[in-house]
């Protein structure tokens, strides 16, 4: 028993490690292997090492496909992500701040609207109809505001929760010192929210970058795609060119992977907020 127990624990650990790595990592290894193969070899879909490594050629080909569609898409996705997340953070921080600090008879109703945004599925065609009326359908600007609208609820909840940890005396002191509401918020309160702001930025960036449904509906067409749409477009075009399709998957997985490597803790903190009784 005395010598057996650590040994058994060690074996159990090793077994778990192998099983989980197989289930959760091998599919990604498969993507990498496919992206390295020639067209004929990738078509076999075999889980095997490539006989000839042509990863770089595949990547170059994917970028060149359809008149450099993927290059445009990476630029579009970058603009989309940066712009929408910036607006989301500023707007949601302002809402979270006032919502937590000022209790009026509207507070309950506003909380209800925030929760509704998490539950209600957006009405697609009427949204297109509104965007068309504003002249924003099929434009990147329109899509940016769409992402802001659908990301607000989650962001507001995080900011509101964090506000309750910032002492009221701080903003009251700023007001007594003669600061107006804008200065109080942007120079005193907002800097204190930095840690939750980083959480919101990281989580929402991954969310927006990976979003497929909204670009599909509100920014259709090949010439102005986002990265997720290139995958969808290539899926039909590259039916027989699995090497290129998987090279594309590989490329668009890199930004979330970097986020994960650098901000793992922040992402997990943001996504588990509300799980613990607070």
């Amino acid at each position: 028993m005395v010598t057996g127990s650590p040994m058994r624990r060690y074996l159990l650990s090793a077994l778990t490690l192998v099983v989980f790595t197989a289930i959760f990592v091998l599919p990604f290894v498969f993507v990498l292997l496919q992206a390295m193969k020639t067209r004929q070899e990738a078509a076999l879909l075999q889980f095997s090492l490539p006989t000839e490594v042509v990863l770089w050629d595949n990547i170059v080909q994917v970028f060149q496909a359809r008149d450099y569609m993927l290059v445009t898409a990476f630029i579009n996705s970058t603009i989309l992500t940066v712009a929408s997340v910036t607006l989301m953070v500023v707007f949601a921080a302002m809402v979270g701040y006032v919502l937590q600090r000022r209790l009026t008879r509207w507070t309950g109703f506003i909380n209800f609207l925030v929760l509704a945004g998490l539950i209600i599925p957006p009405a697609v065609v009427p949204t297109i109809w509104v965007l068309q009326g504003l002249g924003l359908f099929r434009t990147l600007t329109g899509l940016i505001f769409i992402e802001v609208a659908f990301g607000l609820s989650f962001s507001v909840l995080l900011f509101r929760a964090f506000m309750s940890t910032i002492p009221r005396q701080l903003d009251e002191a700023a007001v007594i010192d003669g600061a107006g509401p804008i200065r109080t918020f942007f120079q005193v309160v907002f800097p204190l929210m930095r840690s939750v702001a980083v959480t919101v930025i990281v989580v929402q960036s991954v969310q927006v970058f990976n979003d497929f449904v909204h670009p599909l509906y509100f920014l259709p067409g090949d010439e102005n795609a986002t990265v997720q749409l290139t995958l969808y477009n290539f899926q039909s075009q590259f039916e027989a060119q699995y090497n290129l399709l998987f090279a594309d998957i590989l490329l668009i997985t890199i930004p979330p992977l970097l986020m994960f490597i650098f901000f793992n803790k922040k992402i997990v903190a943001g996504m588990t907020a509300g799980a613990v009784k607070g």
Partner: protein, 282 residues
């Protein structure tokens, strides 16, 4: 006034114009025959069609299957994984990362990846099964199986989120409770069922609600893997909405949106209320 109401304004304008207004407009447009060029009020015709046409009814029932099964699977597997990953096991950090990473990967990418892995003849899954003498099924080509295969991939991709939520819940349980139960002679199973499970309740509620909302509204994964096929056997409401939109039946598509809205709120709102009411105090 340090907390001016106009701080709500920028958010309210974007949210009101692009989310609330379309939601209200959808109630009207769902009662019309609506194309690019004109609209005509037809009463409840779209809804009647939604509950009569087999292709649309399939989408409805599939949604009611897909949402609950993915949600339950994520609750059970998420809790088990979280228990494993908070135990004394070696390599916890690596395991947590590995289980969580798929959450951050593009859904379409995951869909294409598994479409290849689940290929009935050449796919790695069936080849592996073949090695041990099992004749693997047509995961995505068998009409009876396609929806469940997609649900399986959904769980693979999403269980990491449930796991980290449960880990956060588990580490917040004071150790004394479990130790006290052990001192009182409770077996490992009793400690799990009578101490851990009730105390991890807030995490369970979050996982149920989040995954149910996601599951009922699901679209990308199904669209990437089967396009609702074979035939329309793996269609869900969200994919029906897209198909009707593509076909130019805007009124019908919007009626689908209203149906989805009603289903999601009729299930999620009472459930969330009930779950929160039953929370244990400690």
């Amino acid at each position: 006034m340090a907390y001016p109401a106009w701080f709500y304004l920028p958010a309210a304008v974007v949210y009101g114009v692009l989310f609330i207004a379309p939601t209200f407009a959808s109630f009207y447009f769902s009662l019309t025959r609506w194309s690019l060029f004109d609209q005509e009020f037809i009463g409840f015709g779209n809804f009647v069609q939604f509950f009569q046409e087999p292709a649309l009814v399939t989408g409805l029932t599939n949604t009611l299957i897909y949402g609950p099964i993915t949600s339950v699977a994520k609750v059970v597997l998420g809790l088990l994984l979280a228990l494993l990953l908070t135990s004394q096991i070696q390599g916890r950090g690596w395991l947590r990362s590995v289980v969580f990473f798929p959450v951050l990967v593009s859904t379409i990418g995951v869909g294409i990846m598994f479409q290849a892995l689940m290929d009935p003849r050449d796919g790695a899954i069936n080849r592996m099964l073949g090695v041990v003498g099992i004749n693997g099924p047509g995961w995505l080509t068998n009409p009876d199986l396609a929806l469940y295969s997609v649900a399986l991939v959904d769980v693979w991709k999403g269980v990491g989120l449930a796991t980290v939520i449960y880990i956060a819940g588990l580490v917040s349980i004071p150790r004394e409770y479990i130790e006290a139960a052990a001192v009182d002679g409770a077996s490992a199973w009793q400690r799990f069922w009578h101490v851990t499970v009730p105390l991890v309740r807030p995490a369970t509620n979050t996982v149920i609600i989040l995954s149910l909302i996601g599951g009922l509204r699901t679209f990308d994964l199904i669209w990437a893997m089967t396009r609702g096929g074979p035939g329309f056997t793996s269609d869900v409401i969200a994919s029906v909405i897209y198909k009707q939109y593509q076909a130019g039946f805007y009124g019908l598509s919007t009626a689908g949106n209203v149906v989805l809205f009603v289903i999601v709120s009729a299930i999620v709102v009472p459930l969330a209320w009930w779950l929160n009411r039953r929370q244990v105090e400690y």
